[in-house]
């Protein structure tokens, strides 16, 4: 079982490095013949790399998607905001207890539209990760989100959320300050909105911590993102008393984007650039941005009451069960 996305990406990273070096030589080469020859070698390497990526990424298993979703090179919420928004003012206060850096948010101008953006934020290096608490928000993070949702409602701004968290913070402090209430209240707050809402799972959609800010009219997942009721390691620990069987649990949980689409739990799976969002963050962002704007355009045609009703109905129909007296008898016989 792979432990990191780098396990299979290593040959690619090595090829990338070789290509980079070779290209530098090409650039300096003055002899036209030699230049052409080297150029062809660069092209060849690139073809081989891309062929590898194409095969590899077209048959990624659930566990590999978990690892990619967790990759530290994967674009994070602020990367999408920076790529997609002309103006963004981060507002930090929850007006209750603390500034939580695992959820960021504020008003922004996206494609010329005023929107309220809220998303989980992870960190890339050790300091950042600690500052962002590994993207695990505390109650104050969700309460800040609620404040921003209410502000969006007041000023008639669509709400755009980016979901990317392993889970809500499970510590003693979070319990003391009501992490459960905060998550539930955040969902409730989203159900109360009469403005358009779009959520995108851009990495890890980790259980309650994810759904807390993912109650939208339109929910999307990036191709390699995952969305799960429980972290696969936690599931394996409970079921088989073996957290290391995460890959097995990932498969059982069907936490990939195609499964979520199949069960009708997301509206749209957004294709990622060749080799994953991390290979071309800008292209990934543009795909996400276009999808957000398309959904807003559709939602603009609905009244506030219709938006609210559509959102409730969206979640209302979720569930897999049978209901009929006949089914009941059959099930029990």
């Amino acid at each position: 079982m792979a432990k990191s996305w780098k396990d299979w990406e290593k040959p690619v990273l090595e090829l990338d490095e070789t290509i980079r070096k070779l290209q530098a030589i090409v650039d300096k080469e003055t002899d036209p013949e030699r230049k052409t020859e080297l150029s062809e070698r660069v092209q060849d390497y690139m073809r081989r790399r891309d062929a590898y990526l194409e095969t590899r990424y077209s048959r990624l298993g659930p566990w590999e998607k978990v690892l990619i979703a967790r990759a530290e090179t994967r674009p994070y919420t602020l990367d999408y905001i920076n790529a997609l928004c002309e103006d963004f003012v981060e507002l930090e206060g929850d007006r209750r207890f603390a500034a939580d850096h695992a959820i960021v948010g504020g008003p922004a101008l996206m494609d010329g539209r005023r929107v309220m953006v809220v998303g989980h934020q992870k960190g890339r290096n050790i300091q950042e990760r600690s500052y962002r608490n590994f993207g695990m928000a505390k109650p104050e993070g969700y309460r800040k989100a609620i404040r921003l949702f209410e502000m969006a409602e007041r000023f008639r701004m669509p709400v755009i959320t980016f979901v990317d968290t392993p889970a809500a913070d499970p510590g003693v402090e979070s319990e003391s300050r009501g992490i459960s209430e905060a998550i539930a209240a955040a969902m409730l707050s989203m159900f109360e909105l009469t403005v358009p809402t779009v959520s995108t799972v851009i990495g890890e959609g980790g259980s309650g911590g994810a759904i807390g800010i993912a109650v939208a009219n339109h929910v999307m997942m990036q191709e390699h993102a995952v969305y799960s009721v429980i972290p696969p390691e936690g599931c394996a620990a409970i079921l088989w008393r073996a957290a290391e069987k995460g890959a097995q649990a990932a498969a059982a949980l069907q936490l990939t984007s195609d499964s979520a689409l199949k069960f009708g739990l997301v509206e749209e799976v957004l294709p990622e650039p060749f080799g994953g969002a991390h290979r071309d963050p800008l292209e990934a962002a543009q795909t996400v941005g276009r999808a957000i704007m398309a959904s807003l355009e559709r939602q603009d045609k609905l009244s506030g009451a219709e938006l609210k009703a559509e959102r409730a109905a969206r979640f209302r129909r979720m569930g897999a069960y049978a209901e009929s007296a006949v089914a009941a008898v059959l099930a029990e016989s």
Binding site: A168, D169, P170, G171, V172, E173, S174, E175, S176, R177, G178, I179, S180, E181, I183, A184, A185, M187, L188, F191, E192, S207, G208, A210, I211, G212, A214, V215, Y227, S228, V229, I230, G234, C235, I238, L239, A252, L253, Q254, L255, S259, A260, F263, L265, R311, A312, F315, R316, M318, G319, A320, Y321, A322, E323, S324, A325, A327, A328, A331, E332
Partner: protein, 277 residues
């Protein structure tokens, strides 16, 4: 077999040790005391039927949504077998029973989780029943009262179970918009996905004493924590002192206290207005 470990099959003349304090007590006395240990006051878990008996007017409970049957959408390893065994053992069809009842004369809508069925976990059927019970309150203008006893979302139904958190929350929103009282009663245990959705956003939240209540398994919370864990961590008493509960109510007072709350919040009026509207 100590009390609180099973719900039936004990002869009334038998006497057995309390699973909490280990003191021995007659089965008949235990039942008469609503399954609260007379020595240590431990509130042992109830089945949904016992909960109905403790709280609602005698014979007033009518079960609804009885035709709902669980699927196995993910073909999750061993789920079908576990579910079938739980059905057989508990004579329930899933972890939640929903219906109508009267509480000291007042009509109410209710959903009751039973921990004995797969740890009271919330999958599609449980989520649907809870949703309908709360919606029924909203639509008919009668208070909705949910009794929680759950380890959380049912992982065997994957993301579908996570979505039940949002679905039940939507029902609470409907109840709020309708101005109908919605009350949650936490019993041992009330955890994770259930606590982090419909349970925590009730108008009023009460709990039985010493119930285990928390977001993460205590193991996870403590792992995640460098600082000291309080002795009463994740108990009803801990939650009360941290502002998450409104009141801890002993089982014997639950019926009258819930009736008071329904009356004070206008539960008896909402029904009248719903008929008018």
């Amino acid at each position: 077999m100590p009390f609180g470990k099973a719900s039936s099959g004990v002869a009334p003349g038998a006497f057995l040790p309390c699973s909490n304090c280990r003191k021995t007590i007659f089965a008949a006395e235990f039942e008469a005391n609503l399954r609260v240990c007379p020595y240590c006051g431990h509130h042992h878990r109830l089945t949904w039927q016992q909960r109905v008996d403790v709280v609602f007017d005698e014979g007033s409970f009518v079960e609804l949504d009885t035709d709902l049957r669980s699927g196995d959408p993910l073909h999750f390893p061993d789920y079908a077998e576990k579910h079938a065994q739980a059905m057989q053992r508990t004579k329930m069809r899933d972890s939640v029973v929903s219906g109508r009842a009267t509480l000291m004369g007042m009509p109410v809508s209710t959903a009751i989780s039973d921990f004995h069925f797969m740890g009271g976990s919330m999958g599609s059927v449980a989520g649907e029943k809870i949703t309908r019970a709360i919606e029924r309150g909203a639509h008919e203008g009668i208070p909705a009262i949910v009794f929680c006893a759950s380890g959380g979302a049912r992982m065997q139904e994957g993301l579908l179970s996570l979505m039940q958190m949002a679905k039940t929350t939507a029902a609470v929103e409907a109840c709020r918009s309708a101005g109908v009282p919605y009350i949650a009663v936490f019993t041992d245990p009330t955890m994770a996905g259930v606590l982090a959705s419909y349970a925590s956003i009730a108008d009023v939240i009460v709990s039985e004493p010493r119930a285990l209540i928390g977001f993460a398994g205590a193991r996870v919370s403590k792992q995640a924590q460098v600082s000291k864990v309080p002795d009463d961590f994740q108990t009803a008493e801990f939650l009360l002192s941290h502002g998450m509960l409104d009141k801890i109510i002993e089982r014997k007072n639950l019926r009258t206290n819930l009736a008071s709350l329904c009356r004070l919040l206008g539960g008896h009026l909402a029904a009248v207005e719903a008929t008018r509207g």
